[in-house]
Symmetry: C2
Subunit: 463 residues, 2 copies
């Protein structure tokens, strides 16, 4: 038996003694934990643990430390860049049984949850409070996972990303020590910002076991609108003008003509097959909602917007936004049997039109359909490459298109990842994006995790 | 000559060769750089440099590295916890001649400035753009200094602190390397959040030379209001209710009866000598402004609020807010010849009333007047201890009162510093606030600055 295997065998024995049936190397469980929702190749861990407390996570990480075995934190498994794939084997810590809402602070508008609580679960628990957790990445992700990938989604333009909405964390460090970061105060100038260091660290510096998040009041008034445009540029100029006018729009989503065509076919709607913006307006005041919609309608009309449709009743709003929510399934239906590879660049919005138009030009002649949906107010957009994943030629074409897209975004002052994180999928772009700052990231990784045991092979190559 | 003195002498010679007259050990200049605006004992550096470029800062830091001499970054000198006092001597880098606004991105609503640009200077440069930089700590601080101390102020309740408003930085690392953190994209999930690591690091990890900040549209409509309350609890309950109702109040400042008495005497006004809230409302819509004020007036009336005065005209608003702006001078006038020691705890707002009331009880019998002004929406309040700084007994009484205040805030889940930073003044409270997380901060400091040359003796004790 090789030394590595012996170490893993000993670790598995120790974990089984510690957790009983909550540590398992059953093949089916290992397989379930070998992948996220992306196209990245699966890789199974050697053992999966289901801790119930931070102290148990600490004990598991101490086994990892003494046996020199990797640790991979696992939330809801909804990530998109291979974050949870156990590419070097090791111990996967599945946090889904740590799913208690520990505390809701109605007056402070915050909540502390265990890392395995999902966003829909939290919002269900908040039902009677008049408060809501706003970060909405689409999937029903765990809050630990969302913190670890610095997730955001459709509402970031108004309410911010996990960066702005995490107030504090409980983290198990690579040597098993437990720390709490941040306080329950809304702001602080006391010491280094450890919370923000772990938000977006993708499990490479420690395991997040509890998250304190900011909540927001449910808006008194909500309305929605949809508007199609003669040109992509007109749509994006409307986005810029809306933000510059200080309209506190809650959601502002961009769909391209391919995506709208897919939506029409899938949802039996009859929207114009044209660049389209979906808006949602929130306010503490009903009059203000009407004001917002009128302002945006006028701004759109001056920028080639047509057929501005406004909806205030819940069912009308839901019908209108269904098109946006169905984008993934509608796109997949464009090519039955396909899987979607999803890109994620984010650029300064002054470059968004240029970036999208150049990209669409570059996409002409791609051997698969490509649809676009974007969080336009943030400058973040996703292309859905609808691939036959059995075709090496398509995978290679997708790789090349995405690489050119990333380099284009970086040239424009943007980032390779607006909200999906780095994982294994985008490691190759970090040098181009961060330059000499990447070496400082490596210094941090080495200082906190000198053995490179925490989610190794993700985000950073450490020598 | 002792080895340390020889090293410093050699460093001074080298810096003078590098910068000519912009490196000086003239006594008057050293004295000017020995202190900030606080009561902390002054300590002069050995030499002061006035670089004009990031590359010059890098060259200065390389001299510090080769000669093992401390570096102290100096902005506008407006800090309050001894951040710039050269307690171990060394090289002060005065960044005030790096004061160019490098770029204003009107469409992206961001700007990149050299670290020595002050907030008023930036807002002057923005005059024709319809945009504004919102972080307002009162003093005309430099943006580098504000980033380094994670500053905030009266508008944080709506627009956030420097944590939320810094998008990226240029930093000279302790070995002289230059890095850029962040991108110009509004959000990113790519890599560790180096920007937030340096925001609030108080010069202990590197020297910030450029700052990219977020701008906000000037509001279409602004109004102000003032309201006095029968009780402190009524005032704070109004603050909580206002936030919970989702009223996007732009400023919400609390003054206690001592402070209001001081204001009346100083500004010849006739406000009720009672706990008082000052509000400012911003909106993209005039109707919404009226809605906000009406909502808050109703909430206040139910919570012992009286004499709600509302002002929309610029001169009326300015007159009304003058009282808030004059708090420091009004307080000092309560005791001619005194200096103010300013506390800075921040607690969850659910504990704000309790914290203030217990503190006021504890303050009874203090040998000096104490006034209170608070950023109530954030849970952050300042006591002004109006001291005879020649009296050791008063200084000791102030120390004890502040220590009990800090411990009270920490018990309530708060922080010792809402916005002024740690400096030398609050180092003693970091263990109590951060527990085992403090050791992780030390690990970061050692990893980035192994010689402990960057603003040594501030924030953290490193062995």
């Amino acid at each position: 038996m090789a030394p590595v295997e012996a170490a893993i065998g000993a670790a598995i024995d120790e974990l089984k003694r510690l957790l009983g049936a909550r540590a398992t190397d059953a093949a089916a469980v290992l397989e379930q934990h070998s992948h996220d929702e992306s196209y990245h190749p699966p890789a199974a861990p050697d053992v999966v643990c289901f801790p119930h407390t931070t102290e148990e996570v600490s004990a598991i990480v101490r086994v990892s430390a003494s046996r020199h075995v990797p640790v991979i934190p696992f939330g809801a498994g909804t990530s998109l860049e291979g974050h949870v794939n156990a590419i070097h084997g090791g111990i996967t810590i599945d946090l889904r049984e740590m799913n208690r809402v520990l505390r809701v602070g109605a007056e402070d508008m915050d909540a502390t949850v265990e890392a395995g609580v999902t966003r829909l679960q939290l919002n269900k628990a908040l039902r009677s409070t008049g408060l809501t957790f706003t970060v909405d990445p689409g999937a029903d992700s765990s809050l630990g996972g969302m913190a670890a990938t610095r997730a955001s989604g459709t509402t970031a333009v108004r309410y911010g990303t996990m960066r702005e909405n995490v107030l504090g964390l409980t983290v198990v460090l690579p040597d098993g020590r437990i720390i709490k970061t941040g306080t329950r105060a809304r702001k602080s100038s006391s010491g280094y910002d450890l919370t923000r260091l772990f938000v977006g660290s993708e499990g490479t510096l420690g395991v997040i076991t509890e998250v304190t998040v900011r909540l927001h009041p449910l808006p008194e008034a909500v309305s929605a609108a949809v508007c199609s445009f003669d040109s992509m540029k007109g749509a994006i100029d409307t986005v810029i003008a809306t933000i510059q006018h200080g309209v506190p729009v809650a959601r502002m989503e961009l769909l391209d003509e391919t995506q709208m065509d897919a939506v029409n076919r899938y949802s039996k709607t009859s929207y114009a097959v044209a660049p389209t913006l979906f808006f949602e307006f929130h306010s503490d005041s009903r009059a203000h909602i009407a004001d917002q919609a009128q302002t945006v309608q006028a701004l759109a009309a001056e920028r080639s917007g047509r057929d501005f449709q406004w909806a205030t009743r819940l069912e009308d709003r839901e019908k209108l936004w269904r098109a946006r929510h169905d984008t993934l399934y509608a796109s997949l239906a464009l090519r039955p049997g396909s899987r979607a590879q999803i890109t994620d660049v984010c650029v300064p919005i002054s470059h968004l039109a240029e970036c999208i138009l150049e990209t669409k030009q570059d996409n002409l002649g791609a051997p698969f359909p490509i649809s676009l949906v974007g969080h336009a107010g943030d400058g973040n957009f996703h292309l859905l490459y609808l691939l036959n994943v059995e075709s090496p030629a398509e995978l290679e074409a997708a790789r090349q298109l995405n690489e050119r897209l990333v380099m284009r975004a970086l040239r424009m002052g943007g980032t390779c990842s607006g909200e999906h994180g780095v994982g294994t999928g985008k490691m190759k772009y970090l040098e181009a994006e961060h330059g000499s700052a990447l070496e400082l990231m490596r210094t941090l990784k080495r200082a906190l995790d000198p053995d490179n045991r925490m989610n190794p092979g993700k985000m950073l190559v450490v020598d």
